[in-house]
């Protein structure tokens, strides 16, 4: 896990950030955390539509699972209330468990799908659950880099 994180760091170091795309929230289902599956045009040349849609739909599925109102969430709520919420000192909430799953999924997607295409997904939880940030990199080391002028900027960005 540490080495894969290190690879993503390498990607950042060797590439320069071209632009960022923000996938906004979709509120048609109320205040549930869902993201729009509309494909951003900036990614047109980089990523296949169905890959993007699959990622967003899976994320939406995770968030729906986290916020699901049902027997288990009520049980958790009632148990927590009965213990004056001290039980959360010992155990994680269901939501937190799902957020960990989401973080793992995003890491996998980055390694398998996005990093090879010079893209990087940022976990929405780091952006206040407002957006899915997708960073688009121009790889200045590779001979395929399209715009050498933009890659002239040194260091990081």
């Amino acid at each position: 896990m540490a080495s894969e994180a290190h690879d993503l760091q390498e990607l950042r170091r060797s590439a320069s950030l071209a632009t960022k795309v923000f996938v906004q929230r979709d509120y048609s289902d109320g205040t549930l955390c869902q993201f729009q599956t509309k494909f951003p045009l900036e990614l047109d040349s980089r990523l296949e539509r169905q890959l993007f849609e699959e990622t967003v739909k899976t994320l939406n599925g995770f968030y729906a699972e986290a916020e699901k109102i049902g027997g288990s969430s009520y049980l958790e709520g009632c148990l927590a209330c009965a213990t004056a919420y001290f039980i959360f000192l010992c155990m994680e909430t269901h939501y937190e468990k799902v957020l960990k799953k989401i973080a793992k999924y995003i890491q996998e997607q980055n390694e398998q799908v996005y990093a090879p295409r010079g893209l990087l997904l940022t976990d929405p939880v780091e952006r206040g659950m407002r957006v899915i940030e997708i960073s688009i990199y121009e790889d200045r080391c590779s001979s395929r880099s399209t715009s050498s002028s933009s890659s002239g900027g040194g260091g990081g960005r």
């Binding site: 923000f22 205040t31 699901k68 969430s73 919420y85 952006r127 960005r157």
Partner: protein, 398 residues
């Protein structure tokens, strides 16, 4: 030979968070800036309970049952726990947009509205969404530079957008929003029960004692009851009506899945027969969702380590590239950030992403001079009381 290494304490994100909150215990506790009334609340609860335990309880435990003080203690501890939980937790603050995101949204807005000629007012920044066959308008917050989610509102006292904003409560010293509404409700409920309990047993105590030693002598003996006659109000009775009334009001809101903010603005009543799209139509379901629903964790990440931007001018090879937030991962990966490196060029700027200088509030016109004075529990509007103004961000005027 000793080498002096000055280890600079890593800066945590709460130190650079915009907004008007105060943080304690290295970011674990989050409150509003004005805490005076919160201390008053603590004093009133602790004072009343102390008097009750010190005087009435000893007599009643012997004369009636030892279960009386035991139950009082349990109620008291529960109420205090809920109060502290409400006061110290993140109500559901939405972090402000980072510069990239804000710029992206601005571009989108301009694309939708087109460029506005000089001298003309730009159209209001509103997005429409349809939720459950209702059109819900999302307003743009000029301070946080985001389109506020439905039911979110910007608290002018804390200067933050809060999800499912209910109200800013000076009595608990914090906003009441999505993440701490259930604690707030349980607090006022348990406090009502506690107040009723103490009040009832005070009457029982006075009655029992009066039978033995007479009413006037009883008043002389116990300060708790003694304080009441000059004011014509029994000491525990004073907070009883407002707190019980407030509990009733919030029970009504919970049953309808509404917030105080929506109720005061009349969002779902009156004209156009607009219905609350968030209500399940069933009281039990609404109560279950509000009080027992899933609890989202705080997205503020107050205790994350702030990435120090090292000066890149010296060709420092350890530049971390685009400064994305990775609080969990990089907090542990000390390979990236050896303590000594922090000494060298830890720019106090810290993360520029955080928008460390709090952005000036651009909306000059407060939309509606709504100042629900916090709670119906104030029987007399006191000068100390801070109007719980929810700034509705008058950008519709702009």
């Amino acid at each position: 030979m000793s080498v002096m290494v000055v280890r600079k304490k890593a800066m945590r994100k709460w130190e650079k968070l915009p907004g008007r909150n105060t943080f304690c215990c290295d970011g674990r506790i989050m409150m509003a800036r004005q805490k005076g009334i919160f201390y008053l609340t603590l004093f009133l609860i602790l004072g009343t309970c102390a008097l009750f335990f010190a005087f009435e309880c000893r007599y009643l435990a012997v004369q009636l049952s030892p279960a009386i003080p035991v139950f009082a203690v349990v109620l008291f501890l529960f109420a205090m726990a809920m109060l502290l939980r409400t006061s110290f937790s993140d109500p559901g603050v939405i972090p402000r947009a980072l510069p990239d995101e804000a710029a992206f949204i601005e571009m989108e807005i301009e694309a939708t509205n087109g460029t506005v000629p000089q001298g003309q007012r730009p159209p209001p920044r509103i997005k429409n969404f349809q939720i459950n066959n209702q059109i819900v308008k999302l307003k743009y917050c000029y301070t946080c530079k985001i389109f506020r989610p439905p039911r979110a509102s910007h608290c002018s006292i804390c200067d933050n957008c809060v999800e499912r904003f209910d109200h800013h409560c000076p009595w608990v010293g914090n906003c009441v929003g999505k993440r701490n509404y259930r604690y707030f409700y349980l607090f006022i409920l348990s406090l009502s029960l506690l107040t009723i309990y103490i009040f009832t047993f005070n009457i029982v105590y006075v009655a029992l004692k009066s039978l033995k030693i007479g009413f006037l002598n009883t008043l002389k003996e116990t300060p708790g009851t003694y304080l009441s006659p000059p004011h014509g109000a029994y000491l525990p009775f004073r907070p009883l009506c407002p707190v019980v009334g407030l509990t009733g009001f919030h029970t009504f809101l919970v049953a309808l899945n509404q917030t105080t903010n929506e109720d005061i603005k009349g969002a779902w009543t009156g004209k156009n027969r607009v219905q609350n799209p968030y209500s399940h139509g069933n009281i039990v379901k609404n109560c279950c969702e509000v009080l027992c629903g899933p609890l989202p964790p705080s997205v503020l990440d107050r205790r994350g380590i702030l990435q120090q931007e090292e000066s890149s001018a010296q060709g420092d090879s350890s530049t971390r590239g685009p400064s994305t937030q990775e609080p969990g991962a990089l907090e542990k990966s000390s390979t990236q950030e050896p303590g000594a490196a922090q000494v060298l060029s830890a720019q106090a700027v810290g993360s520029t992403r955080e928008g460390s200088s709090s952005p000036t509030r651009q909306s000059a016109v407060p939309m509606l001079p709504l100042s629900p004075t916090g709670m119906p529990e104030e029987t007399q509007p006191s000068a100390v009381e801070l109007p719980a103004q929810t700034r509705d961000d008058g950008p519709t005027e702009h």
